[in-house]
């Protein structure tokens, strides 16, 4: 610790802190233009100059001068003020002073400081800067005439985002911020540069001229896309959202956002939203009143229940429903209808964290203290970009080592010390190979294994076959690379394994999670901050909907349905008997509908016809349903098949909570009044129950959460009264440091089965990877025009070598066919795609990648043919 005096105040600060940080700690404000706590000190603007007695009265920039013992600092004096005024005058020489129409006006650092220091006249005169304004870049507008060259955009893009799109070009007075050759932006469009810009040089095009900063009302809520759970502020003017900002206080994101969070909110105000209930009459969906629609739902469900029993009814809900809504939905099916047939897209994916993982989740903020990362089956910087930023910061600023295993050369592979390009679908063999190598080389953490785990011998036995040569044959990774990766991983003290789940990552999540947990345990990476497994669900409440029991075999908690006392407790609380046998999963529900055993389906926000594998099969199955209710924002392909469509409120129109991937419960606040006649999902569930003759209780989210807290031990301490913008970290996640204390639970190692990789066939030589792109999340983001202006439609990503062999050029139309279906799509040749595999994002309605996939197989094999003009 260092003691120093700032403005006659004794300040104690940690070693390595700068004067600015020490002053901030003591509550002394020093003005800055180029400093940001997320970035390394830069010392460009010289606004933060202070006097240090030991430096003989010389002015020194406080942001880049380390505090030393006994330093005596003055942050304000006549000389300092004069110097700061001069800096401002110099900055204002070329500045266009177009504050009246600059969108930063009102929250501009330069404007504030000019006002604060009373710089009303400028002693220096020169021509105003006359750079052309970049109007061509989507989403971000660049007007370098207003730039103060603080370099924050350049640094945030490099140090935090890792896109390195901006740089400073030219020298001296002609220095400016530019992309290479000054072309329009072609980057991740996260808008972090625009957000961090202290002046109006980089501005948000969506916000352009919409409102002045002081006119808007900010509502704090949570982003509705991925499971990072970024806290956002929606700025409202005249009842419309004009922009989204990252909430600096947000625990998950600390003010950062990605393209989806910053520019993706538009779907909420889309003109295509369904605003009235629709009931199918004489074969067409016609607008109806809520009474009619609810009655139709009640009659439809009742009829099926009476004819074929409650087991013929099933429910699929979206992983974007709030906790309260997911809870009410499964309660509606279990307590009112009497079936356990309830699932979300978890039936196809992210079963891992409910049944596979025995470790508490990692906290995002701890990722920055990790020294090893293993990123496997996770394009984290695209699916969960803000988590990706943290990995990037740890690697670039803190020197952590990164191992990336992915068939595609994903963004993180650029910074990785080890990149393993394995064959698609062989992650389990790879993880087991790593574990085997660590155990045979004796690199495991013996102390930890002996004290805190059990079953190591069984694990060793089951891993015997995963020798480097076996793994090489299975995954295509050379034995020496595997050994190197294993050594690298085992040499760390805090290692994080990052895995993603969701519709973009089909596969056996539970087994994968188990293998990852094994690897973390044998290396002692559990029970301390920044060590463990991070399992990232796809959607905003993927984790919460499992916790809320919107899955066939779990009750809220999540607690096992199979256990009698658990079931009895819920039966008592709900006043209804709960069936003991687990319900059907997504796949089984669709299969059941096809075979006729499922006759009625309630889809709450889920869009299986666009998001689930094997569209054709799903469509036939849904065609056979006697009754289909769809509760949606848009008239999706699923809604178009429905008998009744109930219009639901979007995330901006309701209160509630989401649980993110680190187990943090965060609060949504209503920003907009409901669109048209829409109602929140919670209210609709309660009204449907009432129409069925049962009472689900209040739909007030706070009251529902109180009920959840009383029934689910994990949510015991969650209460609306105490939820702040930082959210509430669920108890088992908060207790991650507890194991090791006396009486702590011992982790158990689970033996692992061999999963043989599938062999490619001659007919279908390519492996199809269906996944998410950086720009979209699920199918909802395709309704946001800003995002679509950057990524309007799906393209087939293919390796240059494969493309050459097939005589495919960029933007050629190709026909892709699998055993299940076929589609035509534009090709994009991209070097990061591994040979023998092609990639199609699944978000879009057309071409819909899921038409090619099959639910029965983990891997989809396809053939690709070039479409010539004549065949078109």
């Amino acid at each position: 610790m260092i003691r120093l005096t700032i403005d006659n105040k004794e300040v104690v600060t940690e070693d390595g802190a700068t004067i600015l940080e020490a002053a901030a700690r003591a509550g002394i404000r020093i003005p800055t233009l180029c400093y940001h706590e997320k970035l390394q000190p830069f010392g460009a603007c010289r606004i933060c100059v202070v006097e240090v007695e030991q430096m003989k009265g010389r002015l020194t920039p406080s942001c880049s001068t380390p505090a030393t013992e006994g330093m005596v600092v003055r942050t304000s004096s006549e000389q300092i003020i004069k110097a700061r005024k001069t800096v401002l005058e110099l900055l204002l020489i070329q500045h266009p002073l177009d504050c009246p129409w600059c969108d930063k006006g009102g929250e501009c650092q330069l404007q504030n400081l000019t006002y604060e220091y009373g710089v009303s006249r400028n002693r220096f005169k020169d021509k105003k800067s006359d750079h052309p304004v970049d109007y061509l870049s989507p989403l971000v507008e660049r007007n370098t005439n207003r730039c103060v060259l603080c370099g924050m955009c350049v640094r945030v893009c490099d140090e935090v985002v890792g896109a390195s799109e901006w740089s400073m070009v030219n020298r001296g007075i002609s220095t400016k911020i530019a992309t290479d050759f000054d072309r329009p932006l072609n980057c991740e469009f996260c808008g972090e540069c625009e957000n961090i810009c202290p002046v109006g040089a980089l501005t948000n095009r969506m916000f352009k001229f919409k409102a002045r900063a002081w006119e808007v009302e900010n509502v704090s809520t949570v982003c509705s896309f991925c499971s990072t759970g970024c806290a956002i502020k929606l700025s409202l003017k005249d009842g419309r959202i004009v922009r989204a900002l990252g909430e600096e206080e947000g625990a998950a994101n600390q003010g950062s956002l990605c393209i989806k969070g910053r520019f993706g909110y538009e779907y909420v105000m889309s003109g295509e939203r369904i605003s009235r209930p629709l009931v199918r009459k004489n074969g067409t969906l016609t607008p109806a009143t809520w009474e009619e629609a609810l009655q139709a739902v009640a009659e439809g469900l009742k009829a099926v229940k009476e004819q074929a029993g409650p087991g013929a009814v099933a429910g699929l809900c979206s992983a974007r429903l709030t906790n309260e809504e997911a809870y009410l939905f499964q309660k509606l099916l279990r307590a009112v209808i009497g079936t356990n047939n309830v699932d979300n897209s978890g039936g196809y994916a992210h079963r891992g964290y409910s049944s596979g993982l025995s470790l508490p989740p990692l906290e995002f903020k701890d990722l920055q203290s990790c020294d090893r990362f293993l990123v496997i089956r996770s394009n984290v910087s695209e699916t969960h970009p803000v988590v990706g930023y943290r990995v990037n910061v740890a690697v670039k600023q803190k020197g952590a080592q990164l191992i990336v295993a992915d068939p595609r050369r994903i963004k993180l592979a650029r910074f990785a010390q080890t990149y393993l390009a394995h064959k698609p679908g062989t992650e389990i063999a790879l993880l087991n190979g790593l574990a085997h190598t660590i155990l045979t080389e004796g690199l495991e953490n013996r102390e930890f294994v002996a004290a805190r785990t059990e079953g190591i011998e069984e694990l060793k036995k089951s891993l015997v076959q995963f020798t480097p040569s076996f793994v090489e044959q299975a995954t295509g990774i050379a034995g020496k690379d595997l050994v190197e990766a294993a050594r690298r991983f085992a040499s760390g003290t805090r290692a994080a394994i990052i895995i993603s789940a969701g519709m973009g990552f089909p596969g056996d999540d539970a087994a994968l999670a188990r293998c990852a947990a094994n690897l973390a345990l044998i290396t002692g990476n559990a029970g301390k901050p920044g060590a463990g497994v991070l399992f990232l669900g796809e959607k905003s409440n993927s984790h919460g909907s499992v916790d809320m029991g919107a899955v066939p075999d779990l009750l809220p908690g999540p607690q096992e349905l199979a256990k009698d006392p658990v079931r009895q407790a819920f039966a008592k609380a709900w006043g209804a008997a709960i069936a003991a046998e687990p319900g059907l999963t997504c796949e089984q529900i669709i299969a059941g509908a096809e075979q006729g055993s499922i006759k009625a389906l309630y889809c709450a926000g889920e869009n299986p016809l666009q998001a689930y594998p094997d569209t054709k099969k799903t469509k036939t199955a849904f065609g056979k349903l006697q009754f289909l209710v769809v509760q949606e924002l848009f008239l999706t392909p699923t809604a178009q098949m429905a008998h009744v469509v109930l219009p639901a409120a979007s995330f901006a129109e309701k209160d509630g909570t989401y649980t993110n991937a680190e187990g943090r419960v965060q609060r949504l606040h209503q920003a907009l009044p409901p669109c048209g006649e829409t109602k929140t999902d919670a209210e609709i569930f309660c009204r449907v129950a009432k129409a069925l003759g049962k009472d689900l209780g209040s739909w007030n989210p706070a009251a529902v959460m109180a009920e959840i807290a009383s029934l689910a031990p994990r949510y015991h301490a969650v209460s609306y009264a105490t939820l702040t913008v930082k959210g509430h970290l669920l108890s088992d996640a908060a207790d991650r440091e507890a194991p090791g204390a006396e009486g702590a639970a011992r982790f158990s190692l689970l033996p692992v089965d061999v999963i043989a990789p599938e062999a490619p066939s001659a007919e279908f030589p390519f492996t199809l990877l269906i996944g998410s792109t950086l720009f979209h999340c699920g199918t909802l983001s395709t309704r946001s025009s800003a995002i679509c202006s950057v990524y309007p439609q799906a393209r087939l990503e293919i390796n240059p070598g494969d493309a050459r062999a097939l005589d495919i050029r960029d933007n050629d139309t190709v026909q892709v066919s699998s055993a299940t279906g076929a589609l035509t799509i534009t090709a994009k040749i991209i070097a990061r795609q591994s040979p023998g595999a092609v990639f199609i994002p699944y978000h879009f309605l057309s071409p819909a990648a899921q038409e090619l996939a099959s639910a029965a197989q983990l891997q989809t094999r396809v053939k690709i043919e070039k479409r010539t003009e004549t065949s078109l």
Binding site: P100, W101, V133, F209, A211, R212, E215
Partner: protein, 155 residues
């Protein structure tokens, strides 16, 4: 008893032979003084072929009666202009703060003081109306006889 009557009549007679202080309103109208704060007018920039207003919203911000609504938008030259500029004269208190706050001198107070309307909506002036100079109704004339100068000089 007669004396007070004559005294009163003398006043009457004095005014009988001076020029009248009233005028034939509405055929004749008072000319408002140069500092008169009547309804606002938005100015047109001939040189650039657009309204002077840049939709900075400072007028709307400073307005104590909150009667100004501005919606900015981008024109084809990428400039900011007011797509909507409304003043609700029902609420306006004619304080002139909007004129004072305007950084580009795009708004002035005019001499128009006859602002009565048959409906409340009629008193909400849009951008097109505000860009027009206030006009006298047909057939009406501004009184020169009753101009400000003549009032001040008392002739």
């Amino acid at each position: 008893m007669l004396w007070p009557l004559l005294k009163g009549l003398s006043v009457t007679l004095k005014y009988f032979f001076t020029r009248p202080v009233t005028m034939k309103y509405p055929e004749q109208r008072w000319e408002a003084g140069p500092r008169w704060r009547g309804r606002q007018q938005l100015l047109w920039d001939e040189e650039r072929g657009r309204e002077k207003c840049v939709a900075c919203c400072l007028c709307a911000t400073v307005c104590p009666a909150q009667c100004i609504r501005v919606e900015g938008a981008e024109n084809e030259r990428h400039e900011k202009y007011p797509a909507v500029y409304e003043i609700d004269l029902n609420r306006c208190i004619f304080c002139g703060f909007c004129v004072e706050a305007c950084p580009v001198s795009a708004i002035i107070m005019t001499g128009a003081y006859e602002l009565a309307e048959y409906t409340r909506d009629g008193s909400i002036y849009g951008k097109e109306e505000l860009l027009q100079e206030p006009q006298l109704p047909k057939g009406a004339e501004r009184s020169t006889t009753f101009s400000l100068e003549s009032r001040l000089s008392g002739k």
